[in-house]
Amino acid sequence: MTPPHEFRLSHFQAMVIFALLVSVAFGFLSRRGSYQRARYILWSFILFLLIGVGIGWAMYPFSH
């Protein structure tokens, strides 16, 4: 039985939250200035998602 306070996420939702939080932290730690940070965060977030989905598809043939 699932406790009422347990948080449930799909794999994709967990990946999006992970990518967003890590990208924001990376952007603030490695860049100065709002524009540079925003660019880095966006770029890093997109790459996290694309590479994540790409690796998922690359593993797809081995799951059958």
Binding site: A14, I17, F18, L21, A25, F28, L29
Partner: protein
């Protein structure tokens, strides 16, 4: 070999008395800065964002605190595994090191997970990864605060 300079000549080239005092002051300053950097790094590890807050980097402090806190809260709410010291295999030991990276939030995660971990479902497994990510991210932030204090980074 004819071009070779004798060692005695190179070591005695600069008289010690001329370079001693500025060199010593520089060394003392360097040691003081290293000690301060270690204290800042320890503070950054213990409470995420505290290291940057001590350096008056408010934006970075806020982001470090909130990202690590969110990852810990999410990971614990998803019933991720919080590794303990008594790990049996290498992965459990590595997981413990990663989880310890969140500093005092390790105990927050333990307190939040009242029902204990449940990795029999994928959800708990994602939670385990989020908790480990929080720890590694906080260690990276602590290292950044250390490097900033030693004036190696901006």
């Amino acid at each position: 070999m004819p071009d070779e300079v004798p060692i005695a000549e190179t070591t005695n080239a600069v008289p010690v008395a001329q370079s001693a005092s500025p060199h010593h002051a520089e060394n003392r300053e360097g040691r003081r800065r290293d000690a301060l950097a270690l204290i800042i790094a320890a503070a950054a590890w213990f409470l995420p964002g505290l290291g940057h807050a001590l350096l008056k980097m408010w934006g970075r402090a806020l982001v470090c605190f909130s990202t690590v806190a969110l990852l810990v809260i999410l990971g614990a709410s998803m019933r991720g595994n919080i590794f303990s010291r008594s790990g049996e295999d290498a992965f459990a030991k590595l997981g413990y090191v990663a989880d310890l990276g969140v500093g005092s939030f390790y105990f927050v995660a333990r307190a939040l997970e009242t029902n204990g971990p449940d990795v029999s479902h994928a959800n708990g497994d994602y939670g385990t990864r989020l908790l480990a990510t929080a720890g590694v991210l906080n260690m990276l932030a602590a290292l950044h605060a250390y490097e900033v204090t030693r004036a190696r980074k901006a």
